[in-house]
């Protein structure tokens, strides 16, 4: 099939891609949005007893789960029941957190390996993950005493199946659920937040589907018309062209993630959670993702954290901080391993996350060392305004940070190029996944792995 000329492409784009994509974006989630709104309005009217509120959100949550996953939702229900059983059985113990974590991980592993076919399991991965994160965080909070006693089954289920978070997440803490149940008043700022998140999500969906896959041949013609001539020839092109193709892929993947994140912001806010109480003034400020920090990161770790802020927060509170007693590197490894297990044991996810573990660690240590040697603000994290470094605004400080930024963009492109943009070329079986990953990375000559290794060598030299 011959490629379209640029003019033809822009003629085809609105009706061929933009319209169907936007249509489907709406078509697939309108019921979820209505459920969220219905729940929110129900919680607002009158003085309903708490258990009615929990029951209503459970009902809405079940309905939306059924809408998205059909009868496969049984597995999510089973997981939630299992979690409550463990919490109930261990109500007198003070190690509920670790115990529940292990149970959940065993359940997820069993599911991955045996219980059902991979396809439907992976479809529900997001929901399973949110349920697991909620239950584990609750168990740790109970151990710590932040939550005094084990919630009633209805309240627990209400938290798990909270309609705003059940499909697309994000993780919210038990206390923020309790606050949400109170039913804050409907305000203009709430509506503005919902609308802006929704618009952002649709924008990201359209970019992910219609802009990212055609970025270089059509939108930014770096090679002129040469790339258009023959798709097959693109495969044999040089390293730069392959890198650009990887960037197209990864951009599609990034924007798909922003779409889901903004969508979850929409649903969560719409159903009345995700605010901070500032004096007597509510601020609807749930932030799932920070695209600017992902697309133009200061460091790899900043990109990773901004990818999914609630999840990073969860990992930080419940995994990283608790694992720090084993040492920094070990804690980082444990954190990324947990993340892998929660994501389902797919080969490509495991490979990406483990690579990230090494990358972020080496980057962090190297930059820490550099900042000491040069006495400059070149850390992975932005310096606080009162830091003691002498060199803050020198030209070469910007240069070093800029170089690390470029490196981070390269790393993130390299890593997310394995997440295929098209659903058809992803083979659900593990061998297919593994060879797909190796294929993609060897196409890019394993650049990032070599660079990481090189940085490690540099770090050892100047240590």
């Amino acid at each position: 099939m011959g490629a379209l000329s640029r003019q033809q492409f822009f003629q085809e784009l609105p009706l061929g891609c933009l319209l169907p994509t936007a249509q489907q974006g709406l078509l697939q989630v309108w019921q979820l949005l209505i459920m969220c709104l219905a729940c929110r309005l129900l919680w607002r009217i009158g003085r309903l007893p708490a258990y009615i509120k929990h029951l209503s959100t459970i009902a809405c949550g079940f309905y939306t789960l059924y809408l998205f996953f059909g009868l496969h939702m049984v597995w999510v229900v089973l997981l939630s029941l299992l979690c409550y059983l463990i919490l109930f059985l261990c109500r007198h113990s003070s190690t509920r957190g670790p115990f529940l974590s292990i149970t959940v991980l065993i359940y997820l592993l069993l599911g991955e390996l045996h219980m059902m076919d991979t396809n439907s399991w992976h479809k529900m991965r997001g929901s399973q993950m949110v349920v697991a994160m909620k239950a584990i965080s609750l168990a740790f909070d109970l151990d710590k005493g932040t939550v005094e006693n084990v919630p009633s089954p209805v309240e627990f289920m209400g938290y798990i199946y909270f309609v705003g978070t059940v499909i697309f997440g994000p993780w919210i803490s038990f206390s923020s659920y309790r606050e949400a149940v109170e039913g804050k008043e409907l305000s203009v700022s709430w509506l503005v937040k919902v609308a802006s998140s929704w618009i952002k999500s649709q924008l990201c969906l359209v970019i992910s589907n219609c802009v990212a896959p055609y970025l270089f041949p059509y939108f930014i013609p770096v090679f002129g018309d040469k790339l258009l001539k023959n798709k097959k020839r693109r495969k044999n092109r040089g390293f730069v062209a392959r890198l650009l193709m990887g960037y197209e892929h990864s951009m599609g993947f990034h924007f798909s993630n922003y779409f889901v994140s903004y969508l979850s912001e929409t649903t969560t806010t719409l159903s009345g959670a995700g605010f901070t109480d500032e004096k007597d003034h509510l601020k609807w400020d749930l932030t799932m993702v920070n695209p600017l920090n992902v697309e133009f990161p200061r460091s790899v770790s900043e990109g990773v954290i901004s990818w999914n802020l609630p999840m990073s927060q969860w990992l930080n509170i419940y995994v990283f901080k608790k694992a720090l007693k084993f040492g920094t590197f070990q804690a980082i490894l444990i954190t990324y391993t947990t993340s892998t297990l929660l994501h389902g044991l797919s080969f490509h996810i495991a490979a990406v996350l483990l690579t990230l573990a090494f990358m972020t660690y080496i980057e962090y240590e190297l930059r820490k060392r550099l900042s000491v040697i040069l006495n400059a603000c070149v850390l992975s994290k932005r310096c606080p305004s009162d830091c003691k470094h002498q060199n803050k605004k020198a030209f070469w400080v910007y240069f070093i940070n800029g170089a690390f930024s470029v490196l981070a963009v390269l790393h993130l492109t390299y890593l997310s190029s394995v997440f295929g943009s098209s659903a058809d070329d992803i083979d659900p079986d593990e061998d297919g996944m593994a060879s797909h990953t190796f294929h993609k990375w060897s196409e890019l000559n394993w650049t990032s792995h070599w660079l990481t290794f090189g940085l490690w060598v540099v770090y050892r030299i100047i240590m």
Binding site: G126, V260, S421
Partner: protein, 376 residues
């Protein structure tokens, strides 16, 4: 119906052309032996009047063009409000594509503003005839399918039967261009203007079908998963129709490899089915049977060199040709050896345009000379 149409038309002084057209169509309908492709005429009616843009007033819009259609075709249009627009648009694209594909050949797909749009070539049985039938059928299929998914035809919508590979429990299918509806409708609509059971009928119907198959076989599905970290919670899929240039390219390939066929007179033809390809067989028994996508013809093409009113060919005199090309568009072949005259033209065009921030563009006028070659 006739008087109604005439009364209606009389209201519009600007529609004289259409009246003449309708009258001539009534004459030509009695004169022409067969009604092959008469429906093509609606493309001119639609362009000479602007009535069809008024899609709300369907009956009003239909009257002038109804005369060119058979009763069955009129019924189909009445049953599918909004579809006439798509048919006309499809015809326009098909004609444009036909002209583009054949721009360098002796036969350059000439059309006229008479009801027999393509001229007498359609009453023959040569390769060019086959291409015209295939490309118009493909054009209508393409346009109808596209209009379906845009929702501008009331009786069809997005094709929700084409869901993802997950089978019936795959909940979130996508909106796809409804190519099945397009195919079915076009089969009913286009093929109904073919009558008889003779070789010409079989060939025309075969070529119509070949055009439709080319459209639907080039469709491709595009999908994308969305979910937390790449999981497939939402999957957006849609079938994409090929751009019509692709269809044109493919049909042109088929034109170059079209097979010449004869009527396979095997046993009783009483039970012969419509468009059964088994009734066509290649003239040369050594060749294999034409497949459903191949174009077929039964007579040699005329050479299209000179004007011939009986054959309906316009000839190539006056056509511009390329003096340096040895191919079909070269002066030698295109002018059939009659030679060519050379003319030098001065062309003034805007050039050296610079963009000033913000926002205007200033240009110079450049004059260049261009050498034009025209066949004698």
């Amino acid at each position: 119906m006739w008087s109604g149409a005439m009364q209606f038309l009389a209201l519009f002084t600007a529609l004289k052309a259409a009246c003449v057209l309708l009258l001539s169509s009534s004459i030509s309908s009695s004169a022409a032996a067969n009604s092959s492709g008469r429906w093509w005429g609606i493309v001119n009616v639609a362009s000479s009047t602007n009535l069809l843009t008024n899609s709300k007033n369907v009956q009003l819009a239909l009257d002038p063009s109804l005369a060119l259609l058979s009763r069955r075709q009129r019924r189909l249009i009445r049953q599918n409000p909004g579809i006439l627009h798509a048919i006309v648009a499809g015809l326009h694209t098909a004609i444009k594509e036909c002209k583009w594909q054949f721009r360098n050949r002796r036969w350059n797909c000439p059309t006229s503003h008479t009801p027999t749009v393509f001229g007498k070539i359609i009453n023959r049985g040569c390769r060019e005839t086959a291409f015209v039938f295939a490309i118009t059928s493909a054009g209508v299929t393409h346009a109808v399918a596209r209009s379906c998914s845009e929702g501008s035809i009331e009786s069809c919508t997005c094709d929700y039967r084409r869901r993802g590979p997950g089978g019936p429990d795959w909940h979130w299918g996508g909106c796809s261009d409804n190519v099945d509806f397009g195919r079915m409708f076009t089969r009913e609509f286009v093929d109904s203007s073919e009558r008889g059971r003779d070789l010409r009928y079989l060939i025309n119907v075969h070529n119509n079908e070949a055009g439709r198959i080319t459209v639907s076989s080039e469709m491709r599905q595009e999908c994308k998963c969305h979910g937390m970290s790449g999981s497939c919670t939402i999957r957006t899929c849609w079938m994409r129709l090929p751009s019509f240039r692709t269809v044109g390219d493919l049909l042109k390939d088929r034109f170059d490899g079209a097979s010449r066929v004869v009527y396979a007179n095997k046993g009783s033809n009483r039970a012969s089915h419509r468009a059964d390809p088994r009734h066509l067989q290649p003239e040369n028994p050594a060749h294999k049977l034409p497949s459903a996508q191949d174009l077929v013809y039964f007579e040699k093409s005329p050479n299209f060199c000179s004007y011939n009113s009986k054959m309906g060919t316009l000839g190539t005199s006056g056509r511009t040709c390329n003096s340096s090309s040895p191919a079909l568009d070269g002066c030698e072949l295109l002018c059939c050896g009659r030679g060519y005259k050379t003319r030098i033209e001065k062309i003034t065009e805007r050039c050296h345009c610079t963009f000033h921030w913000c926002c205007h563009v200033s240009c110079l006028n450049c004059t260049s000379t261009q050498t034009l070659h025209q066949c004698l």
